[in-house]
Symmetry: C2
Subunit: 177 residues, 2 copies
């Protein structure tokens, strides 16, 4: 979805998309070049992006990629979908959503954070319930769940801090690594 989103508005080449992800979201995703191309092939096969071969004088042809109408729909839908209670997906997908929201529709950043906070709080309650329901014999399941709960608690504080720092510091202008 990050690769798809980078084609929002302006077409581009696989190579550049990968470089942009590295530069802007390098600590969020670890994306190898081959993986990027594999994902782009899939997006094309699904009809979310379309490629145009551009013949060049001396170099081999390059593929200019653009988002299709379907891809646009899917991207916007993804952009509005909260990321549930997995810490991992919050650290990766949710941060990525913030990246695009800030760039494309900065007025929605605040509500996205609020929405995600709600999701996380809900999930936290479910996990607390599950932890309480575990038999005392299941020590290791309990330990694992307990860690997840503590981490979600941290996420809630982090989300609040994200909100204040993004509101104080609007439009951070990325891409200038």
């Amino acid at each position: 979805m990050a690769l798809l989103g980078l084609l929002f508005g302006k077409p581009g080449h696989g190579y550049d998309l990968h470089r942009t992800v590295i530069a802007d979201l390098g600590e969020v995703w670890h994306l190898s070049q081959s993986q990027a191309y594999a994902i782009l092939r899939r997006l094309e096969a699904q009809g979310d992006i379309a490629a145009k071969e551009i013949q060049q004088a001396k170099r081999p042809a390059r593929q200019l990629l653009r988002m299709t109408a379907q891809g646009r729909r899917r991207f916007l839908k993804w952009l509005a979908t909260p990321n549930g209670g997995s810490t991992r997906s919050i650290r990766m997908e949710f941060v990525t959503r913030l990246y695009f929201l800030q760039a494309l529709m900065p007025d929605r950043v605040d509500s996205a954070i609020a929405q995600q906070t709600g999701e996380a709080a809900l999930h936290l309650e479910r996990l607390r319930g599950a932890r309480a329901a575990l038999a005392s014999k299941q020590v290791y399941s309990w330990m694992s769940l307990d860690l997840r709960i503590r981490q979600l608690e941290v996420v809630l504080g982090w989300l609040a801090d994200c909100r204040t720092s993004l509101l104080l510091n609007p439009n951070p202008k990325q891409k200038e690594t």
Copy 2:
């Protein structure tokens, strides 16, 4: 490695191994049956386990699996290897190591926790360094790293709590779900 470890000492069937994982480590790993069999096939291909076909009167043959000497070496090596600084691998692999350590060599539990704490603290320092080194432009990489740091801090507290609760409550006797 969890599947391999369950064959330590006593041979067993893929079916039972899967069930044991579900029962004892259900919140640690989410392992489908087919995935379990796939992993077992790989372990066999690698020579960590060996299968013996057991013909039965009316039913189709079952595979009795046992650990090989090589598998034993690999398992014991894994059991002594700390899990670095990924919160995920701490929640999953490290907890699994504790599960086996408690069952097979309970006297090593304490030092394993201490060792893992050291690893986590080290990693935490590295992450803090990386966060400090980030350009102020890279807002989203910063956010993601910041969350990882907060989560590792939580992990350190959790590890300390694990230690006290496992020492107070030795040999929890699993498998009775």
